[in-house]
């Protein structure tokens, strides 16, 4: 007797959502992948190359595209999941526009939002032309042209760590984990593109926790001559020559330091996605003090929502890199399958 395949709805078509959908489809489940943007792919769509090995982001993108292209997956774009509710027959899902879906299980993979750099007004994003974010820089790498707003070539670039992370003033006390290594990666890329351009990283702590990260840090110093200054930039202004001037304390020298920059790159951190927060509020998911979703257990129940048939995958629970996101998504799939078979 042939059974009807069970149906899993995945909320969010980023790295975690695509991996989870692909893994489930492969095992014969019917999957609906709901993505709020025009195409699945999430923040990865904006990236040029990935840390720590600087491989083209396209390689991971095409892997994920293939994964999500499985014939068992139905992708709905430009749609958000508004609310999920468990009932004895499964999980009722309400999508934006009011349509309802019935699923046997739901994987929440709503991901993160990038910190809006306008909120750190003292850094002048949106006020000064040459203040950009790490994402803007990545777009420049994609275009293959790294220049100032007026089209001239920069001779000094500063990368500011922890923008929107570890900062009580923007209500984010958490560390976004990936910005340090991203900064090092981008610093190397700048040096490779413009060998005459000086690069400075302004950091509070270098958190090189992943495999090959520390090696990348070392390489950036040894091979690429990237400079590191330990101090939090307090503010930026523009001088008479239209060059940015930043104020920072060189905490290791114990003295305030002033430096002119051509481009200042803000390493924007991760925040709980607004859409995910709305879903959480409507569905009664617990959010932690950092506003990310609070799982059933930090150690062994990291994918459990506490609501039957609803599982968490990826950066909706905490900032993480792509490697960890994919592992987390697979773990969510394992939990989902265990639930569906019980």
């Amino acid at each position: 007797m042939k059974t009807v395949p069970k149906h899993v709805l995945v909320a969010g078509g980023g790295v975690a959502g695509m991996e989870a959908a692909g893994a489930l489809a492969e095992m014969g489940y019917r999957v609906t992948l709901v993505e709020k943007g025009d195409d699945p792919g999430g923040h990865l769509l904006q990236w040029h190359a990935l840390f720590p090995d600087r491989r083209p982001a396209d390689e991971v993108r095409s892997y994920l595209r293939k994964r999500a292209g499985h014939h068992n997956i139905n992708i709905i774009t430009r749609t958000t999941v508004e609310k999920v509710r468990h009932h004895p027959g499964g999980v009722r899902v309400i999508l934006s526009g009011g349509t309802e879906e019935e699923a046997d299980a739901v994987i929440v993979a709503t991901g993160f939002d990038l910190f809006d750099a306008h909120r750190k007004e003292e850094y002048g994003y949106g006020i000064y032309d040459n203040v950009i974010t790490s994402v803007d820089l990545e777009a420049m790498f994609n275009r293959g042209r790294l220049e100032k707003a007026d089209g001239t070539v920069p001779s000094r670039i500063g990368l500011i760590h922890c923008v929107g992370s570890r900062d009580e003033k923007v209500n984010n006390n958490h560390c976004s984990k990936v910005c340090c290594v991203t900064a090092v990666k981008q610093a190397i890329e700048i040096r490779q593109m413009l060998p005459s351009c000086e690069v400075f990283c302004f950091y509070m702590d270098m958190r090189m926790y992943g495999p090959y990260y520390e090696e990348l840090y070392r390489e950036s110093q040894e091979v690429h001559n990237v400079n590191f200054i330990r101090g939090k930039v307090s503010e930026a202004s523009v001088n008479i020559n239209n060059r940015l001037v930043i104020k920072v304390e060189d905490t290791l020298a114990g003295r305030p330091l002033k430096m002119e920059l051509d481009i200042m790159v803000l390493m924007v951190g991760m925040e709980m996605a607004e859409s995910g927060a709305k879903l959480a509020e409507a569905s009664g998911f617990r959010q932690g003090i950092n506003r990310f979703l609070e799982s059933g257990d930090h150690h062994y129940g990291n994918n459990l929502s506490g609501i039957k048939g609803v599982f968490y995958a990826g950066t909706c629970t905490a900032p993480m890199n792509i490697t960890d996101t994919i592992s987390h998504a697979r773990a969510a799939v394992a939990e989902t399958v265990r639930y569906l078979k019980a």
Binding site: E122, I127, D150, E235, S237
Partner: protein
């Protein structure tokens, strides 16, 4: 046996309080500074005297201000104060008119019914009796409200009521007993003699119908007299001392005496004039938004009055000025707190007098070492300028405000110098708020020097904190303007071409600009010129503090955030597109507390400037860079 002995407690109390009042008033007068003495003397023979009498009638008797704020509370105060006043006045007339002789001692008026038990059977006296009974009923109705307020403050629309010391309690008990005991004393006497009007007469005959009224009556006359006597004796050491002191305060204030910057008999009078009514507590954001309930002005004043160590209370205040705005007695609470902050640590009350003296002596040696000193500041030689722009320390952390001001001034063709473009020296106000006036003076001198040398006619600042101190504590030739005033001036003289933004905005009055400096209209005129201004439920003189105030040295950031969130919630109730403020500190604080866009008034105006197209701007900055590179 002389049955009139019961008047003794009353007489003792009355003469005590009269003598005490005279002695105390003379002492206060003597310790006034010479100019203040002259003011008071001159005030006594001029218009201020009439003003004071009117104020005493309106505020001390009728309690008009409390009435406006809370009618029930106002009625309570009015019935007790005005009612009692009328009872005394008409009681005196009664004793004089209907008594055996004229010019009776006060006890004859107060205890008139005892001395004239049969009085009021017919004619005019009968009508007069109705009036006297009515007055007693009027007071008793207020007393009933007071009892209700004490036990259930919420019923009176009060969030909190003040806490009492034992002297307050004894005074309160005696005060509460005065009128019920008078009612019963008169009723029993009337009951025994078949006299009295609608209240005392009816109650009296009802009581006499089952009680030996004539025997009981003296007990209540004794109680009445003792209550009055006790109240008078307790008056100077309880909160009710405020009643006579407030009269003195009104005369002083109307004569033009102000708090100044050190303790004087005027601050002492203000301290004693506080009625602990608790209005300051209900408007305090620290209380209702941050749950801090022991630092409000009523407690501050009480600590001062009782000579307690109140350094923690003194420091923990936003200095927003809302309490001063509503204080029915008109105590200058802000300046009083600043004086206390200047005092620094008070002498340790647990030490004996000689010990305290030795500590003081030791201190006077070490106090000579300045706490702060800015000898490192180097004199500057500024360039000449018509208009000097001083952004202020905080504004350097809101570069969009600076960028907006630059665009506005350039667009209006203002020739200005940016005094602190590369960072300046603090204006001194934050030090003053911390009670460090002497140190602030060093910074004031430094900045004044630059401003004078620049030859500026107008000094524009973006920071209300700087604005207040520039206006009040700097001696300058230049006209000091907050940028909202300056923009208003530019609009009025037609030098700014502005479009209309189709935005609904709400305006937040920064404490130092609004209550602190009285600038309410100019910002509103500017905003209304470029956008639709919505009303806020709490604005102008009752506007809220953003919570980020530099006035509070000790408040933890979490508590500040609670105040900010509450204020932002109230301000954005009408769902405006933008929350507009005129202070970099308010902006920084609100950005963290609300999802509504927060902008400075300068940014709003800059947005209404005709925009240069993007391409032109880019070309212009490219040219500037080329020029700069050429120059380099």
């Amino acid at each position: 046996m002389n049955s009139d002995l019961f008047v003794i407690p009353f007489n003792l109390g009355l003469y005590f309080i009269l003598i005490y009042s005279v002695v105390r008033s003379v002492a206060w007068f003597r310790s006034l500074s010479r100019p203040d003495k002259l003011r008071l003397q001159r005030g006594f023979f001029g218009r201020p005297f009439m003003d004071s009498l009117r104020e005493i009638f309106m505020e001390s008797l009728l309690h008009r201000k409390i009435f406006r704020k809370n009618p029930v509370l106002g009625y309570m105060h009015m019935s007790l104060a005005f009612g009692w006043f009328l009872l005394i006045v008409f009681g005196t007339i009664e004793a004089d008119f209907f008594g055996e002789k004229h010019l009776n001692p006060p006890s004859h008026a107060i205890f008139f019914r005892w001395f004239n038990p049969e009085h009021g059977a017919e004619g005019l006296a009968r009508i007069y009796n109705v009036w006297m009974d009515f007055l007693l009923a009027f007071i008793l109705s207020g007393l009933l409200l007071a009892v209700i307020k004490r036990f259930t403050p919420r019923m009176m629309g009060m969030k909190k009521t003040t806490r009492h010391t034992w002297t307050d309690r004894l005074a309160l008990t005696s005060l509460w007993l005065i009128f019920p005991s008078r009612l019963l004393a008169e009723s029993f006497t009337c009951g025994a003699h078949g006299s009295g009007s609608f209240l005392t007469g009816n109650l009296g005959s009802a009581l006499a119908s089952f009680l030996p009224a004539a025997e009981i009556a003296p007990w209540f006359w004794w109680l009445y007299s003792i209550s009055l006597g006790t109240f008078f004796f307790m008056l100077p050491i309880s909160r009710y001392f405020h009643i006579p002191v407030e009269l003195f305060l009104i005369f002083m204030r109307n004569s033009g005496i102000t708090t100044g910057d050190r303790h004087s008999s005027y601050t002492e009078v203000q301290t004693h004039a506080c009625s602990s009514c608790g209005v300051c507590i209900s408007v305090c954001q620290m209380s209702y938004a941050a749950g801090i309930n022991d630092i409000q002005s009523a407690y501050f004043i009480k600590g001062l009055r009782n000579d307690r160590d109140i350094s923690a209370i003194t420091a923990n205040c936003l200095m927003c000025g809302r309490c001063e705005e509503v204080c029915p007695v008109g105590i200058e609470l802000g300046p009083m707190r600043l004086i206390e902050r200047r005092q620094g640590e008070r002498a340790d009350r647990t030490l004996s007098l000689p010990e305290r003296y030795s500590v003081m002596r030791k201190r006077s040696v070490t106090e000579k070492v300045p706490t702060q000193s800015y000898g490192y500041l180097v004199r500057e030689e500024p360039e000449k300028a018509e208009v000097l722009f001083f952004a202020g320390c905080m504004t350097h952390l809101t570069p969009s405000v600076i960028a907006a001001m630059k665009r506005i001034m350039e667009s209006a063709g203002v020739k200005y110098r940016f005094m602190d473009e590369k960072g300046g020296v603090c204006c001194g106000r934050p030090l003053m708020l911390a009670g460090r006036d002497r140190e602030a003076r060093e910074l004031i001198n430094h900045n004044s020097d630059i401003i004078w040398k620049s030859g500026a006619k107008i000094l524009v600042t973006s920071c209300p904190i700087c604005y207040k101190v520039f206006r009040e504590s700097y001696y300058l030739e230049a006209t000091v303007m907050h940028h909202s005033e300056f923009i208003n001036l530019l609009i009025e003289e037609g030098s700014l071409r502005l479009g209309y933004l189709h935005r609904k905005v709400v305006y937040h009055d920064p404490c130092e600009l609004g209550r602190g400096s009285g600038i309410y209209e100019e910002p509103r005129a500017v905003i209304s010129y470029v956008a639709e201004l919505l009303e806020a439920s709490q604005e102008r003189s009752m506007s809220l503090c953003c919570g980020g105030s530099l006035g509070n040295l000790t408040l933890a950031s979490g508590k500040k955030a609670m105040i900010a969130a509450d204020a932002a919630r109230i301000l954005t109730m009408s769902s405006p597109d933008e929350l507009i403020t005129a202070c970099p500190l308010c902006k920084k604080t609100f950005v963290q507390a609300t999802k509504t866009k927060v902008s400075d008034i300068a940014e709003l105006v800059a947005a209404a400037l005709p925009a240069p197209s993007k391409r032109v701007a880019r070309r212009r900055s490219a040219r500037a860079t080329v020029r700069a590179n050429d120059a380099g």
